[in-house]
């Protein structure tokens, strides 16, 4: 019987994992290019486009680091290439761990077991890959219909565009209410950090406005994360 650890970093697995992450980067570059082209039409100056890209990059530093720290734990379970592939696309470390465990259990083994077999590893990979494919298939099949529905809704003119903006803004606030509520439910420390961030963000935004420092706005989320982590460091 072959052990999973013998095939977890097989060269072909590395190749497929690299193709996946390169497609993700390629897609982002293509979308930046087509957005830049349409940017003047929607009222964005070149300067604003640069500022948006910089803000997106800065704001993702903290979350990316946090995502990767959690993802590292997956390496010991499923190896480097599969971890890279699964974390590089839709899904997160916790949900992938669930998928991998369920797959391994279906093969009658445990993920963290020393004698974890190649067959059980294959079952775990099947479960993660098929399970994660659901999001991709729904997105690729239905986004066009959703877009059609949206343009039908807005083509009526009048107040419809205004209502669509109300709905989208409320949806965004609702999503963050959901994320925030989940954190509050986690415990006291999370609640404290949540409230600290809630109070610090307006101060940063106010200071950026008052002293006319645009970089401060671009760094606002990064700073809030740093402050939240520092407060958290002293809480635990």
């Amino acid at each position: 019987m072959n052990l999973a650890s013998e095939i977890m970093d097989h060269p072909i697995l590395w190749v497929i994992a690299f193709v996946v992450v390169l497609i993700v980067i390629f897609q982002a570059i293509v979308f930046i290019r087509i957005s830049k082209k349409v940017a003047p039409e929607v009222g964005l100056t070149n300067k604003e486009v640069t500022s948006i890209i910089r803000t997106g990059a800065i704001s993702s530093l903290g979350p990316s680091f946090a995502i990767i720290i959690v993802a590292i734990s997956l390496i010991t379970l499923i190896g480097e290439p599969t971890t890279m592939m699964r974390i590089g696309i839709v899904g997160s470390a916790p949900i992938e761990t669930v998928g991998a465990s369920l797959g391994a259990e279906a093969a009658g083994e445990q993920l963290s077991d020393k004698n974890f077999s190649a067959q059980a590893f294959t079952a775990a990979v099947w479960t993660m890959c098929l399970g994660g494919m659901g999001w991709l298939i729904v997105t690729t099949l239905f986004t066009k219909s959703l877009g059609r529905l949206q343009s039908k809704l807005t083509s009526g003119g009048g107040n419809r565009a205004k209502w669509l903006s109300v709905i989208s803004t409320a949806a965004m606030i609702g999503a963050f209410g959901y994320f925030g509520g989940g954190q509050i439910a986690k415990g006291m420390n999370e609640t404290i950090i949540f409230i600290v961030a809630l109070l610090v963000m307006p101060v940063i935004m106010w200071a950026a406005q008052r002293f006319n420092q645009n970089w401060l706005r671009e760094w606002s989320l990064g700073l809030v994360i740093l402050i939240g982590m520092s407060v958290g460091y002293f809480l635990i």
């Binding site: 929607v42 997106g56 259990e105 059609r148 509520g181 986690k186 989320l221």
Partner: protein, 235 residues
């Protein structure tokens, strides 16, 4: 190249509308192409393990694993893309669902960027802004991931435990910060959303419907408030 699809009934769409339609059809084309390519890779990896290397665990095992996992996530496959669509728009949906980490990375980056250029979500300006911000975030995230996987993981393991532990506070900080930004503009909506969020997390709500209930609930709440405001102004 890509066929232009126009669904507006207007006799003569303006130049900028036409350009935006081109943008959308390009987004559909590249979005679908890239996602289908990833789907093929996603299936190629286990196929290779099964039949290339010969470690096929048997279809019944695969089906058992998939069904027990599907029982947890299959509703979310549909609920998430539909719930997030109004925020992300066409291009943002393709990006965010390929790169993942929507709540903890894509949406916060997009929403901070929108506030900088004063673009509302759901408008064209908002969609282009979100697309640019999410693209940049996706590139940073993927590049960091590659770097860490290729050699940096021992560096992270070398970090003191207390610092690694404080990374668990990244999420509440992001969510608090982004909510505060909206609360400045729409305080009542923000309060309603947090209320719903806490209810969804602690109340008797099935996990797969929590996102949907919070988003749909806040939308309903906001629409009612706006209608009431419009009614007051009219009278």
């Amino acid at each position: 190249m890509v066929v232009l699809e126009r669904h507006t009934t207007d006799a003569s769409p303006t130049k900028s509308e036409e350009n935006f339609a081109t943008f959308h059809s390009q987004a559909h084309f590249w979005g679908r192409l890239t996602i289908w390519s990833v789907i093929i890779c996603t299936i190629a990896l286990p196929l290779y393990l099964s039949f290339g290397l010969g470690y096929h665990p048997g279809w019944s095992v695969i089906l058992t694993g998939f069904l027990s996992y599907g029982a947890v996530v299959s509703i979310i496959w549909f609920v998430e893309p539909i719930s997030y669509y109004p925020i992300l728009g066409v291009s943002g949906t393709y990006l965010a669902f390929l790169t993942g980490n929507i709540g903890n990375m894509c949406l916060p980056s997009a929403s901070i960027a929108q506030s900088i250029v004063k673009a509302e979500p759901g408008t064209r300006k908002g969609e282009v802004t979100a697309t640019l911000a999410i693209s940049a975030a996706s590139i940073v995230n993927t590049t960091m991931l590659i770097a860490v996987i290729l050699g940096g993981s021992y560096l992270i393991n070398a970090l003191p435990e207390s610092i690694r532990a404080s990374f668990s506070f990244v999420l509440p900080a992001i969510f608090g910060g982004v909510l505060a930004q909206f609360a400045l503009k729409k305080p009542v909506w923000g309060i309603g959303a947090i209320g719903l969020g806490i209810f969804a997390a602690l109340g008797p709500v099935p996990p797969s419907f929590q996102t949907f209930i919070c988003i749909a609930g806040t939308v309903l709440f906001a629409v009612i408030l706006e209608k009431m405001k419009a009614g007051e102004q009219a009278s």
